[in-house]
């Protein structure tokens, strides 16, 4: 990430130097401004969902969800860490329901727990599953299609579902394969 950041930054800055040097600082400030706006937006979303999740946790409902998903999460993440498993269960179910706001803080918490255990494969798995973006109902794009006057806003439902399931299958397969190879190499060395 450090290399990528430096290379892209340097290339963009050099290009801008020739095109419009005066636009350099405004672009940086605009980016930082967007970060502040996004931060505020995220703080609002997280305040709602973290509050909600704590209520669900105190009521013992989160425990029930995490126990229900346990066979799945344990196998996927290769961990017995209770805290990681329950946050991962919240992350997976919220993602599936299209509640990204609830999914992200739970995902970040699960990643921290997995990181504490040095569980690189589990972290990669949770991240790749999140990136596939499988949703029972892709509400944002369907509302946008309806607003744009599509004859049938729902006619992309099947292609979307199939495409994200493909991303999920490929990603999970690739993680299993990549970390199996890594482990073998580690043993050989």
């Amino acid at each position: 990430m450090n290399v990528l950041f430096t290379v892209v930054f340097a290339a963009s800055a050099a290009a801008l130097l020739f095109r419009d040097a005066a636009a350099f600082l405004p672009a940086l400030l605009a980016g930082a401004g967007k970060a502040v706006a996004l931060g505020l937006q995220l703080a609002a979303v997280w305040a709602v969902w973290l509050g909600f999740l704590r209520v669900a946790e105190d009521a013992g409902l989160l425990g029930a969800v995490s126990r229900g998903l346990r066979p799945l999460t344990r196998r996927l993440l290769h961990t017995e860490n209770e805290a990681a498993l329950s946050q991962a269960a919240v992350n997976l179910s919220a993602n599936l329901l299209g509640m990204g706001g609830a999914a992200t803080p739970a995902g970040a918490a699960a990643m921290r727990h997995l990181g504490g255990d040095g569980n690189a494969r589990g972290r990669a798995m949770l991240f790749v599953i999140g990136c596939a973006g499988v949703q029972i109902f892709p509400s944002t794009v369907i509302s946008l299609r309806a607003a744009a006057g599509a004859a049938d806003p729902y006619d992309v439902y099947l292609p979307i579902l199939l495409a994200s399931l493909c991303a999920l299958a490929l990603g999970v397969g690739a993680v299993l394969l990549a970390y199996a190879i890594k482990r073998k190499k580690g043993r050989g060395a």
Partner: protein, 169 residues
């Protein structure tokens, strides 16, 4: 709309269940919301760095140049060249991708092949670099190169297949 009532029903069910089990709902909600500040504190620096870079990249004209250069490659994969810009912006910014989708809708129509492909590109797969910033934030030494590459490749494959599905389904 069934899905519009889902979220309020979920909140209602959880809060009522909590009340029945004698949870102090107000205190509990507040203590959960208190978790926002430390979370934001640990994530904001990375969000700022990524968005500053993205803005500079866009302003330098390199991003449209890259989209231009890659459009033949996208064409070979069966991705219409009109949505190359969307495919490139998608891993970096969800809101950026959404604004491109709505531009494409108004230009080509939501029911056109391009509009349908754009819908699939937007909805299948998450903003990989944003998620990697949030998920791997502050984890120090271990760089998440391998997971990011896997996610990008499988999402690209999903886009190629999604454009194919749009033609046959």
């Amino acid at each position: 709309m069934i899905f519009a009532v889902f979220v309020p029903l979920l909140f209602l069910a959880v809060f009522l269940a909590a009340a029945v089990r004698r949870v102090k709902v107000y205190d509990s909600f507040a203590s959960g919301a208190a978790g926002v500040l430390p979370l934001l504190k640990s994530l904001f620096p990375y969000i700022a760095a990524v968005l500053v870079l993205a803005e500079l990249f866009e302003a330098s004209g390199l991003s449209s140049l890259l989209a231009e250069a890659l459009s033949p490659a996208f064409g070979a994969l069966g991705i219409p060249k009109e949505i190359a810009r969307l495919v490139l912006i998608k891993p970096f910014s969800g809101s950026g991708a959404l604004s491109v989708v709505s531009e494409l809708f108004s230009e080509y129509g939501a029911d056109s092949y391009i509009g349908r492909c754009a819908s699939v590109v937007y909805a299948s797969g998450e903003t990989v670099f944003y998620l990697s910033a949030v998920y791997f934030a502050g984890s120090g030494k271990k760089k998440p190169v391998l997971p990011v590459v896997i996610a990008l490749v499988s999402n690209l494959a999903a886009i190629v297949l999604g454009c194919l599905f749009c033609r046959v389904l």
